[in-house]
Every structure is written in C-alpha cells, then in structure tokens.
Point group: C2
Chain length 309, copies 2
Amino acid sequence: MFQNISQSIADRSIHIGWIGLGVMGKPMAQHLLDAGYHLRVYSRTPSKAKPLLDRGASFGITAADVAKHCDVVFTMVGYPADVDEVYFGAKGIFKSTRPQQILIDMTTTQPFLAQRIAMQAQRCGCVSLDIPVSGGDVGAREGKLSMMVGGDEDAFRNVGPLLSHFGTNMVYQGGAGAGQHAKMCNQIVIAGTMIGTCEAMMYGYKAGLDMHVVLQSIASGAAGCWTLNNLVPRMLDRNFEPGFFVDHFIKDMQIALEESRRMGLKLEGLQLAHQLYEKTSQLGYGKKGTHALLLALEQLARNDRSQTI
Amino acid sequence: MFQNISQSIADRSIHIGWIGLGVMGKPMAQHLLDAGYHLRVYSRTPSKAKPLLDRGASFGITAADVAKHCDVVFTMVGYPADVDEVYFGAKGIFKSTRPQQILIDMTTTQPFLAQRIAMQAQRCGCVSLDIPVSGGDVGAREGKLSMMVGGDEDAFRNVGPLLSHFGTNMVYQGGAGAGQHAKMCNQIVIAGTMIGTCEAMMYGYKAGLDMHVVLQSIASGAAGCWTLNNLVPRMLDRNFEPGFFVDHFIKDMQIALEESRRMGLKLEGLQLAHQLYEKTSQLGYGKKGTHALLLALEQLARNDRSQTI
C-alpha cells in the first residue's frame, strides 16, 4: 500500500509535515532537514520555526495547511488537549487529510486518543501511528530516542527510514494506542525508581552518609538504575534543571492513572508518585527536572512538625 | 595496630571464626577455606557445617567458643535478634573476646545494633566492623558481592585481603553503623524499583501488551534498572523462586522504617512497599523471591471487587 511513500522517502521527493516545535519537536524536525527532506512546519508560536525556515523549511499557516501539502505528517506537541486540537480542531489535520497519507503522533498522550485518531484516519482512507518516545531532549538532539510504536504495522515499516533519524530503538508494540500503553509502562517504572531513589537520598543525608560514596556501593548492584546513574549526580550537585519537566511527568502519570482506572486497575505506587509530584509542582518546581522530587521531599519534611529533618 | 593480623593473613597462620552457615554464609566461608585459611565454624544447625568440616574446618560448640579461638570472627546470620544473640547472648561472642580481635558482622541488621556492638567491642579492647553485602546467594557463590563497610577504618584496611574473597566492590562508608545505613539506602531504592516494575507489569498485561516486547523498548532507557533486566524475565517465565526472599526483604524494610522514624523521617514510598510486601507474605509468598510482589498484586486485584482484572 505504501510503496510510493517508500520510494519517495528514498529519493527525498516526499513532503513531510511537522507540527510542534518544542524542546523535543524542534531537534527532531532538524534531523529530517539535515537528511535532505522537504519539510513544512507549523507551530502555535511561529517564531520557533525561524531556524528551520532559514534552512529551507516552508511554513504552514495551520495544521490543516500542513496536512494538505504533505504525504507524512508528524505531530509532537504538549498535552492531550493539544493533540486533540491539531487533529480534530477547526484548523486541524483532519480538515484536509487525503488517502494513503500517514499521520504520526509522537506526543505522549492517551491511548484512547490514539485510537480515536486511528478511527478517524481510517474513515479518511489514511492511516495513523502513535509513536511516543523516551530519551528526553538529549535523546532528541543526539538522535538516540527510543520509539514505542502503535498502529498500522505496514505503515511503520515503510516510514522506518524517517524514524531512524530520531534513534535506533524502534519497537512495534501493537495496534493503535499500543505505543502509548508501552510508554505508560515506561513512566510507571520511572515513578517507582524516582520515589525509591529520592527517599534513599533523604535517608542517607539524614543518616550522615556521603551519598557520593554510597553511590559507589549501590549503583552497580540490585538497586542499580538509570536514575541512580544519571539523576543522583545532578542531585548531589544541587542541579535541578530539566531533563524532563515535573509538569510533563505529572501529565503522563495522570494519563496512566486514568487509563488504569478505566481498565479497573488500582496502582498504589503510581498514585503515591502522582500525589508527591503534584506537591512538587505546587511548591513551584513544575518546570524543574523530575529529580526535583528531592527538593519537594526535603521541603515537606522541614514543614512537617512530626519530622525533624 | 593490626600489623600482626595483616602478617598472619598473608602467611595463612590467622585463625578465622565463622558464625552462620545459611544460603549466604556457607559459600562465603567456603571461599576462605578454598584460599587456605584455618576456619572454626559455628551454626545453630550443626549439620550445615558438615561439608566445611569435611574440608578441614573445626567446629565451635558455641559462638563464644569460636571467638575464644580466633583472631577475626565473621557473623552472617538472619535477623537482628540472631545477631544480638550471637554477640550478647549467654554463649555469645562477647563472653570470650580479647584485645585486638576484629569482629565483623555481615548480616543486614540495625545500624543501632552495629553501634552497640562497636561500643561493647571497644570496652573489650577489640574492634568491630559492620559489612552488609548486596548481590544475593549468586553473588556469594561467585565471590561477586558488594560490601558496604562501617566501623574501624584501620581494621577494614587490614582485613581487606580476606574480604576480597567475597567480592571486589568494598567501599568504606563511615563509622559504626554506616555500612548498615548504606545498605538501607540500597534497599529503599529497590523498594521503589520493585513497585514501579510490578505495577508496570500489571498495567501492561491489562492493556494487552506483550511484555517481552515492551521490555525491548524500555529496558535501555530512563526506566532501565537491574529489576527490569534481571527479575522481569523471571516474571515473564512465571518463575518466582528466590533470589532474595520476600521475608528477608520485609525484615530489611522494617529496619529502614524503624531507623527513619527514629531519625524523624517519613518515607511514604517505603511504607507502601512494606505494606504491599507484608500482604505478599501473608498470601504465602514469604519464601518466594521479591519479584513475587507481582503474584500478590495480581491476587489482590482479583480479590478486590472494585478492580476488574
């Protein structure tokens, strides 16, 4: 079904749309420009498009306009409401889709929303993929993202050469929404490792340990995790810049909680993580990195008269 | 102060005591025998000593008897009450300690108990070390344990050649109890990674994902952890044999909770993990591996009429 697209990817004649030029979307779009593709971009904040336009991209005045001119359309926006808007809104993608077009949402969003997009795409004779990523802004810049793929498998195989500019780990997880579900698994694990790690830091500080030294004992054993290796050094430097925003992590955990409730599942660890991160955001750390949970735990302990930190 | 010991370790004339021949203690004692040291062993269950006696070890009829004949005494028993008994009991080590002896407790136990042992040792003119380990029975058998060292630093440097038979990662964490505190940090991180991982498994199963495939997407990214790499494959095989016993993990978490309460610290994630593991044990999985938390979560979800798993 997608031979034409496969061929036009190979000879760079394909027209690619890119919607969303935030901290993730912009470097990803740039990788495609670097690789020699025609790009038409759209951003709610047009100034964000300038560096891409300077390098040859064209600007779409709406998401619908991007969809009208492109064979493959990528979206990488912020919240589920933004995804809803760019697909189903009055100036959205579905106002001007055409048969055989491939729509690829890389935002982390609701599995249910990915399924709605897939159904609407089918009605329009085109197909959709949900491909949330992990690896953060660094992964996006370095082209080292991990991609979790849901939706039309044939379409996925055909756009693989495009995706390869974003990273090498791309795994097909199943039908529409399965990419989002896999991403939720990822975030649920992280919720646990973040709580465990930050609480261990609280304990170790209070016990008078040198956490640099503790790290030498525990990082390579059964407690070993990405968080210990990558975020604890930043905590030790009191550097809480993102990385991955607290507020975006809260959004992801809300999706996972809604989805698990919908499936009749109670996940107490995830609930606790969500509560603690809500408090972290309320304390003003929403735009800090997820490891700012430590800052919040410290502040909550100081304010709690039953604790003596 | 410990030159004599250092020399007698080098020429194998040192007499080493070993108390506790369980799943950890026995292989560790065997490493010392293999290395050509004189060993005097004690176990509450004398039959456990047989393989060691067959290979040249002598048997002490009590912990006090072992201490009486040895320059360095290792203890590796089960619960804090057992440690208390072998050190302070009527037939315990402190009934027959002598100056310059080095007492090394490798049990995971209370930091406070390690400090009590250190104080009593000082009164007797000898010294103590608390060196809990991580790496489990496999690490013990393969000589690949990670050792977290608290207590007399000079003594630690001098017994290093003995410890090197148990593993290469040995890090001095501070005075008496600091080894135990570092181990608690280790267990607190694990409590988080276990909840996150098992809840992600629950979510993924319910969402209809193939968790083998999800693992390919998430194991190498920000969710990556020892638990994902080592325990999820066992969960996927429905193999819940230990590894590390649920009941021993509960003991460790109880110590960490008591100690954090004593320090005026509230660790909600650790509290939740402790509650969930208590339920896991109550369901009959106390002698299963820690990843049997998944079994418990599954069973609790089935029994909870508000959940629909």
